[in-house]
């Protein structure tokens, strides 16, 4: 992988900062799965948090070094059709939340609750000190689902009240 990256870097007239950074990461011993998610993170962005089909999970704290926002868009069958993330933190945190958004798509809101930090950590071959990043990603998924469920429940309660008033 290192030789492919250095070839990429060498073939450009101006060395790409991203390519150079990735080369440095590989040399430092990051697994290629992490580098892949760091260089080409999936699903970066935002969904409309006011949309009632969107659940937003915000976890972490800047003082601790990691903040993750993970959002899910859920259809009428409770299936997650879209997911976006924005993460402030280290490469492992970015990769963990990127993986999380990939894994929740196409699954039901209940199914994704069984996504474990250990699955993310082993997929990315995270070193011991970075297991906390994958835990945060698991927490972010749960927070997003919780937010969507609360919004959905609130919606139902409002409808019932309106029906009673109309009757």
């Amino acid at each position: 992988m290192l030789s492919i990256l250095t070839t990429r870097v060498a073939s450009r007239n101006v060395a790409s900062p991203v390519g150079m950074a990735a080369a440095r990461l590989i040399r430092r011993g990051y697994h290629e799965n992490i580098v892949e998610h760091y260089e080409n993170p999936r699903n970066v962005g935002s969904l409309d948090k006011n949309d009632k089909s969107v659940g937003t999970g915000l976890v972490g704290a800047p003082a601790c070094g990691d903040v993750m926002k993970l959002q899910i868009k859920v259809d009428e069958n409770g299936i997650i059709t879209e997911s976006k993330f924005k993460t402030f933190g280290c490469g492992s945190a970015i990769a963990s939340s990127s993986v999380a958004t990939e894994w929740v798509k196409g699954k039901s809101v209940d199914e994704v609750l069984s996504i474990k930090n250990s699955d993310i950590a082993s997929h990315l071959k995270l070193p011991p000190v970075k297991l906390h990043c994958s835990m945060l990603a698991e927490d972010a998924i749960k927070a997003a689902v919780k937010d969507w469920k609360e919004k959905s429940a609130a919606g139902v309660k409002v409808d019932v009240k309106q029906e009673k008033v109309a009757a």
Partner: protein
């Protein structure tokens, strides 16, 4: 929960005192337990980070997480945990499973090396 934690320690210095003592006690206890048994292990404590290698299982990392006054734990057996200090019991409790740090560590050392007797580690 975070705000309560910060109030428990009146100053950051107090957190460092208590947490440093915990990590140093762990280092001393592990050395006392494993060294005489000729076990191939490695323990290092520097800059508030304790690294314990117990082959072939892997590496345990404990570190001070100063902003939220916690001790963070990473284990190849149980994954990541966070421990918060209870000033009444003077023990660090896991936010995940409520076990205290001393017992958590002893259980895992005993799991890796059944021949090593567990100690009562009051942490």
């Amino acid at each position: 929960m975070q705000h309560n934690q910060i109030r428990l320690f009146e100053t950051e210095a107090e957190f460092h005192n208590v947490a440093d003592e915990a990590l140093e006690t762990i280092q001393d206890t592990v050395d006392e337990m494993l060294e005489p048994k000729n076990i191939d292990y490695e323990i290092n404590l520097a800059s508030g980070v304790l690294t314990l290698k117990m082959r072939p299982h892997g590496t345990w990392v404990l570190n001070k997480q100063t902003p939220n006054r916690q001790i963070w734990w990473s284990s190849p057996l149980s994954g990541p945990k966070r421990f918060e200090f209870d000033p009444k019991d003077k023990l660090w409790f896991s936010t995940k499973d409520g076990l205290n740090l001393g017992r958590t560590l002893m259980q895992e050392i005993h799991h890796v090396y059944p021949e090593v007797t567990k100690r009562d580690l009051e942490l």
